[in-house]
């Protein structure tokens, strides 16, 4: 086998506030010869996700921080080019955590085979991947049911757009979404089946909620934090539930922001707020893939994507997440 030259994105410096291109470098590396029990994979798609911003800071969180001068990582879908491991052969499609690079070598334990039955394979970064599973695990976490009125923020994002569609499939009484543009609002209402969506930039969120759910909401699926969380705390009904999934409105803050001033509603309304990280649900991956795969094959759920092409566009795609550039899952197509 000829020497493989792979390009990869490295963290050059830790961003302060919103990341810029200067925080990253694109490097070329030569991959050494394939070892026994290893597989050479060429990535077809890689994921950029808001949670990666936290890993660019110093200090421990639920995942270790990215290291300076080292390649970033994250979800990717690739194709086996060469295999010295039993169970994988050239042409097989695999999911891995070796994103932000064009090629890599890994052993079996770090690869998850995926079927080519559903195309494009980038679906394994979206509805059938980590973000789709986050949506699914979130609804399970607080046992979302048909009698619920659910409000989802960041609804046009990878997690939110799937969460809303799943809520509809579960028969939720009313599914309400917030997003950052009229085009996204239209997408949610026309393509994702949300009962209603609104542009959070057009007036206070609480006013929108009072209008769209005058009797309050039962469940809040939080992807953004900040003012929207505060509004939801006011709009929730007695015994309401909050899925605390993300806080993108604060990811680029240089100092921690104060929390909502109406947190006391948790007591007065006996709310339940539960934090969600998808890795806690990995042992239910089969159940997830079965359910979600069924919806996708039956055409009952849409895997919306925003696709950019080429590893040299990956940093721009990542930064775009914080500027609202994506509708659905932001995906970088590498081949």
């Amino acid at each position: 086998m000829a020497t493989i030259v792979s390009r990869e994105i490295r963290l050059a410096s830790r961003p302060k506030g919103i990341p810029t291109a200067a925080n990253f470098t694109l490097a070329r590396v030569e991959l050494g010869p394939l070892q026994d029990q290893q597989v050479l994979v060429r990535n077809l798609y890689m994921s950029v996700d808001p949670y990666m911003r936290g890993r660019m800071n110093e200090g421990k969180s639920y995942v270790p921080p990215f290291e300076l001068g080292k390649p970033l990582d994250g979800s990717a879908i690739g194709e086996v080019i060469e295999s010295r491991a039993k169970g994988f052969k050239p042409g097989d499609a695999v999911a891995s955590g070796f994103g932000w690079r064009e090629y890599f070598m890994a052993s079996l334990k770090d690869l998850h085979p995926v079927s080519r039955e559903i195309e494009p394979l980038s679906v394994y970064l979206g509805a059938l991947g980590m973000t789709g599973m986050t949506a699914w695990a979130g609804l399970n976490l607080v046992e979302v049911k048909a009698s619920d009125v659910i409000f989802i923020s960041g609804a046009a994002g990878a997690v939110g757009s799937v969460a809303g569609q799943l809520a509809k499939l579960r028969g939720c009484r009313r599914v309400i979404g917030s997003a950052g543009s009229l085009a996204k609002v239209r997408f949610l209402q026309e393509e994702c089946g949300f009962d209603v969506a609104f542009d959070y930039k057009a007036g206070p969120v609480l006013e929108h909620l009072n209008l769209e759910a005058p009797e309050g909401i039962d469940v809040y699926f939080d992807n953004v934090g900040g003012e929207t969380l505060e509004a939801a705390l006011s709009a929730l009904r007695v015994h309401g539930r909050i899925i605390a999934c993300g806080g993108i409105s604060g990811y680029n803050e240089e100092k921690p922001r104060p929390g909502p001033s109406n947190l006391f509603n948790i007591i007065t309304k006996r709310l339940t707020m539960k934090g969600l990280i998808v890795s806690d649900s990995l042992d239910r991956r089969d159940a997830f893939e079965k359910e979600m795969g069924g919806y996708l094959r039956a055409g009952k759920l849409k895997n919306k994507e925003t696709v950019v092409e080429g590893i040299d566009q990956a940093v721009g795609a990542f930064i775009g997440l914080f500027q609202g550039s994506n509708v659905g899952k932001m995906v970088v197509k590498l081949v």
Copy 2:
């Protein structure tokens, strides 16, 4: 029966910040003749509780606000003086919601008979009453178990002191309390069996927690909110639970305070935070009374009280709650 003259405390004006005596009036009322199906009760003890502060503000919460010019209400234990209702006879002891007054007339549905087996009867305002049941319901709410390290704030108060003793009776690995004076710290350690307690005024709460629970806490029983909640969010372990029971540190704020700036820990550590109001547990009152009564009769649990005497001292006792005057349950003895 002669005319009964009762004294009662009325809300004269809505407090701004910390209540003062000027916000209340002591009025004399003549009680009309006892109606059929009614019972005349003389209160022996009445309760003052921090949650009452919220009811002195305008605006709806989980309980309606007190009305200006009308008597306050709250838990009380009294003795039947005269009965025109089947099932009650003079001398019977009853719990009711007709506190802040010396006598009252009520029908059966508003009275709860209590046994004289455990004395003094003020225990039905404390360990066997609403505050004890709050402690019990809180531990049940997040299923506190023997492997847990639990931290309780406001630990020397009516709810906290019972919660800590119950946690010890459940065999919790470590029970940590915070309170506002060295005398209270000693009380918690020497009389309530807390493994350790600290004075929250002596150094940052998080430093105390890091010292007393270097591997973190599993459960936080929050009675105070504010800085202590923020510290607990930092000290909680992955999958930790918060019982959101009270926020006395903020009850006298004129404007809502911002919430903790580290609320994002709910996501990164997949915490569960649940709001608690004891009235949701009233259908389990029998189970509570059986368990708590058993502990009290067996001498396994202490019902600590701070007692003041006379209805003219009730307002001072109430204001004292916010000055840390009470150890255990603050009780006003009326007879």
